[in-house]
């Protein structure tokens, strides 16, 4: 433990002597001070506040990620390059302790600075809200939709297994299944089609979702219905409709007529007067009132949600930042491992590429969903097919590694007043990130132990 503490302290001191680190810290300070006044929202105060939180902390995170990358890659690589490590290794310090000490120091520094950024941003935002000239309704809206933590409850997923099987059977009997397309691709398309149709309503029809809340609604607890239409399918046509919400098996207790453009997220307060107090099973229905035969579509995923109060804004922001800090710690682990294996520039390159892959994990997942990298190629030759198979195997490998790190935009959610729950934080940190950290550290320590630290020149 003493050795660990010594390495930890020495690494921290060395990092604070680095000009790059101080430059990044200075830039972070400048971002905190200078960015908010030049940011432009959509002209609404709520938009400005969201921009302030999301962009200021987003920019700080980018700078801190760069700082983490530099510090973590440099901490072992520079010591190896300058032969300082030989001095340390003459002491009774195992290489594993060296690795963990350096990682802990880098992670601590990053986390502390990130949390400081969060505190400054929170104070700044609170001051702006307190000093802004807002009506009571506007202030209430800020605190109910932005500076809050709303816990989303999602609808019970539609089970389309039987529907898809039935469609497959019908297509097969009619001889409509194209022989050159794999069955699983056809099944996936039919599944998407079924889900699209279950999330759509033609004129005069309704689309209905069932909700089983995680706990019954308490006395005085607010409930918001948040929804968005599938604007890509509907264009800009405004379609009239009626929202109906009720307890399962009963008549709707809440109805509300709308006539909106299918773009943006809309929120309705639906539990005024406590009409759903004690309820756990609810249904939400949208009835299409169009007289022009217009169809209304909702996105297959996350088109409709019920928001419940999930605590205050400050703890939510803290949880979001801790999730980010977790990601930075993994970056630090990767950097320390690369630094133990390669020279500083190569280590930085390897770590940066991995970071980029993580940023583009959405594209990797999309390609895996498509099942091929050859979309748009009608008749691929043998060579292309081989390339496709190799690429897909590589994508699957990358996806398996990156999937645990896929955290759904914590800052974006915190700035929209959507909760990052303690459960999510704990499970992400301990069940998803810790195993990855242990694997990286194991590989890093093993490779570092095989590295010759005292090569004669």
């Amino acid at each position: 433990m003493k050795a660990f503490a010594a390495i930890y302290t020495l690494t921290l001191r060395a990092a604070l002597r680095e000009r790059v680190v101080w430059s990044m810290l200075a830039l972070t300070g400048l971002v905190l001070l200078l960015l908010p006044p030049v940011l432009r929202g959509d002209g609404t105060f709520a938009g400005e506040i969201r921009m302030h939180i999301h962009y200021t902390l987003g920019f700080c995170s980018v700078l801190l990620a760069a700082m983490t990358l530099w510090m973590s890659c440099g901490t072992l690589a520079t010591d190896l390059g300058s032969k300082r490590l030989q001095m340390v290794l003459t002491k009774p310090v195992s290489r594993a302790v060296l690795w963990w000490g350096k990682w802990a120091a880098v992670s601590t520094l990053t986390t502390v600075v990130l949390l400081l950024c969060g505190i400054v941003t929170h104070l700044h935002v609170s001051h702006r809200v307190a000093s802004a000239e807002l009506s009571e309704a506007e202030r209430e809206q800020i605190f109910s939709s932005t500076l809050t933590a709303r816990r989303p409850e999602r609808p019970v997923p539609f089970d389309v297994t039987e529907m898809v099987a039935e469609m497959m059977r019908a297509h097969e009997e009619a001889g409509l299944l194209p022989p050159d397309i794999p069955r699983d691709v056809i099944e996936r398309e039919l599944r998407n089609h079924a889900l699209t149709m279950l999330n759509a309503a033609s004129a005069g029809d309704s689309v209905r979702w069932a909700f089983r809340l995680s706990s019954p609604l308490r006395e005085g607890e607010g409930l918001q219905l948040a929804y968005r239409f599938d604007g890509a399918s509907m264009g800009i046509t405004r379609i009239p409709g009626e929202w109906r919400v009720g307890r399962d098996g009963e008549e709707p207790a809440y109805t509300h007529r709308v006539h909106q453009s299918p773009s943006g997220e809309f929120v309705l307060e639906i539990n005024e007067g406590g009409r759903f107090t004690g309820a756990r099973d609810l249904f939400v229905e949208f009835h299409n009132l169009s007289e022009e035969r217009d169809m209304v579509f909702f996105p297959m995923h996350e088109g409709v949600a019920l928001y419940r109060p999930g605590g205050a804004f400050a703890p939510n922001l803290l949880r979001a930042l801790l999730l980010l800090a977790g990601l930075m710690s993994l970056l630090a682990a990767l950097g320390v491992s690369s630094g133990g294996l390669f020279s500083l520039p190569v280590a930085c390159y390897v770590t940066a590429v991995t970071l980029l892959l993580q940023l583009f994990s959405g594209s990797v997942e999309q390609t895996l969903e498509l099942g091929t990298t050859l979309t748009g190629v009608t008749e691929p030759g043998r060579a292309l097919q081989t390339v496709d198979r190799v690429s897909m195997a590589m994508y699957r490998g990358v996806h398996a590694v990156l999937k645990p790190l896929d955290v759904a935009s914590p800052l974006g959610r915190a700035s929209r007043g959507v909760s990052v729950s303690s459960g999510e934080l704990a499970s992400t940190l301990f069940l998803r990130m810790t195993p990855v950290l242990l694997v990286i550290s194991l590989v890093g320590v093993l490779l570092f132990q095989r590295r010759e630290a005292g090569v004669a020149e």
Partner: protein, 438 residues
């Protein structure tokens, strides 16, 4: 070679190369200016543009691409609050490409604004687009004829026409904004120059020059803003295409000022109805003839002139200015080989127009102009020939009724409907005494 000598040699070669490169600089700057690649000196641009241009270097394009993708994704998901900032950043990464400013401004003012049902929300987005163009796009591309045309087009089309459900609201907000800047209908008193420069990025000397030539202008209306931007763009136009479309826009806005440039305000003090300013007719005719003389081979210019002469002849006839109508018609006949010159030809044109134009087919502006013309003619005969006056008023009322009843549904009525007949009549009576004419 000994190392010391080698060092000196490299230093000398380095210096020679540096001097050689430095010598190219003046020529390159001059050429950039001549080719209009960079007309704004770096010290006059915004700090952010200077920073991004230098800091990102060759990666500027990649960053711009990433921002384009993010903006497209956010727009598709309906998350708009970041889009103003992203549009500004994207444009600032490519500050001397007018098409980027044009697209981003158009996206904000046209694509995003229509997604909001509330008129005030829509106006905010239209204004975001206008501000992006005039406050930043024109700052970095002050000589761009395209951006000037786009400014004029936003006023002429987005705010001036009735395609947007909230166009009345846009017009009112523009009028309020202009009153705030000018302290009235147009430049009055002192201090308006700084406000016009700051809010509208307008050049006070051009405002005064337009006032002198065509005034008094009501700057609260869209056509006067269109006139300003087309006039300013025309002085910068280099390609024949840009010159023609700016010239067309300028003439169209002048024609609109002639048709309805004398505003009557409602009780809130904002423009409600526009009366014609026929004193601008000789000027406009001269401008059209000039355009024809300057571009004798252009079919587009001939078509614009033909259409202007025919429309103006009809309007003059509507307002009982038969001699003027005949003179303008003869100019039309000169350009149209199928139209016989003289009174018979004018009569045929009027008759053809009456037969082809049912009240329900008229545009809002055409319907309002006809109702106004009939009511003014009725007002003129009120003292001398009350029966005739009653007849004309009846025709106006019938036209109003037919036009209104052809509106399909409340949204169509809200967008293209006319003010109540009695209100139009009351406003005209308050302005024009019985027995007199314009």
């Amino acid at each position: 070679m000994n190392p010391k000598r080698k060092g000196w040699m490299f230093l000398l070669v380095g210096l020679a190369l540096l001097l050689g490169a430095g010598g190219q600089h003046a020529g390159l700057v001059a050429r950039r200016g001549a080719e209009d690649l960079q007309v704004v000196p770096p010290e006059q641009t915004t700090p952010l543009v200077s920073l991004t241009t230098v800091a990102f270097g060759a990666f500027r394009g990649l960053v711009a691409n990433a921002l384009w993708m993010r903006a497209a994704e956010l727009q598709q998901n309906g998350q708009f609050f970041e889009l103003v900032q992203l549009a500004a950043w994207i444009s600032q990464l490519e500050p001397t490409t007018p098409q980027v400013w044009e697209f981003q401004a158009w996206n904000l003012s046209y694509n995003i604004s229509v997604l909001f049902p509330d008129p005030e929300d829509r106006w905010r987005w239209v204004n975001h687009g206008l501000d992006l163009l005039r406050k930043e796009g024109l700052r970095h591309n002050p000589n761009s004829d395209t951006l000037h045309w786009n400014m004029g087009w936003m006023f002429q089309h987005k705010i001036g026409m009735d395609f947007d459900q909230a166009h009345f609201h846009f017009k009112r907000r523009l009028a309020e904004q202009t009153e705030e800047v000018f302290g009235g209908r147009g430049p009055a008193g002192t201090g308006w120059e700084a406000a016009a420069r700051e809010t509208f990025r307008m050049d006070p000397s051009l405002i005064l020059s337009l006032e002198e030539r065509y005034g008094p202008l009501d700057w609260r209306t869209t056509e006067v803003h269109t006139l300003y931007w087309s006039e300013r763009g025309l002085s910068l136009a280099r390609s024949p295409f840009e010159r023609r479309r700016l010239q067309r826009m300028r003439l169209q806005s002048l024609a609109a000022i002639m048709r309805r440039g004398d505003s009557i305000d409602d009780e809130t003090g904002l423009p409600f109805l526009g009366l014609p300013r026929f004193e601008l007719l000789p000027l406009l005719l001269a401008e059209q003839e000039n355009a024809l003389a300057n571009d004798p081979d252009s079919e587009a210019v001939r078509r614009t002139a033909r259409s202007f002469f025919a429309d103006t002849a009809l309007i003059l006839a509507l307002f009982d200015r038969v001699d003027d109508a005949l003179e303008v018609y003869n100019r039309f006949a000169r350009l149209d080989p199928d139209a016989p010159p003289g009174a018979a030809g004018l009569r045929a044109l009027l008759q053809a127009n009456d037969e082809s134009m049912r009240p329900e087919d008229l545009s809002r502006e055409q319907a309002l102009l006809r109702v106004t013309a009939l009511l003014l003619r009725s007002r003129r005969w009120e003292t001398q020939d009350p029966t005739r006056a009653r007849g004309l008023r009846g025709m106006a009322s019938q036209l109003h009724r037919h036009y209104q009843s052809a509106r399909v549904g409340p949204e169509h009525m809200e967008r293209t409907g006319l003010p109540p007949f009695e209100e139009i009549e009351r406003s005209l009576h308050a302005r024009v005494p019985a027995g007199s004419t314009l």
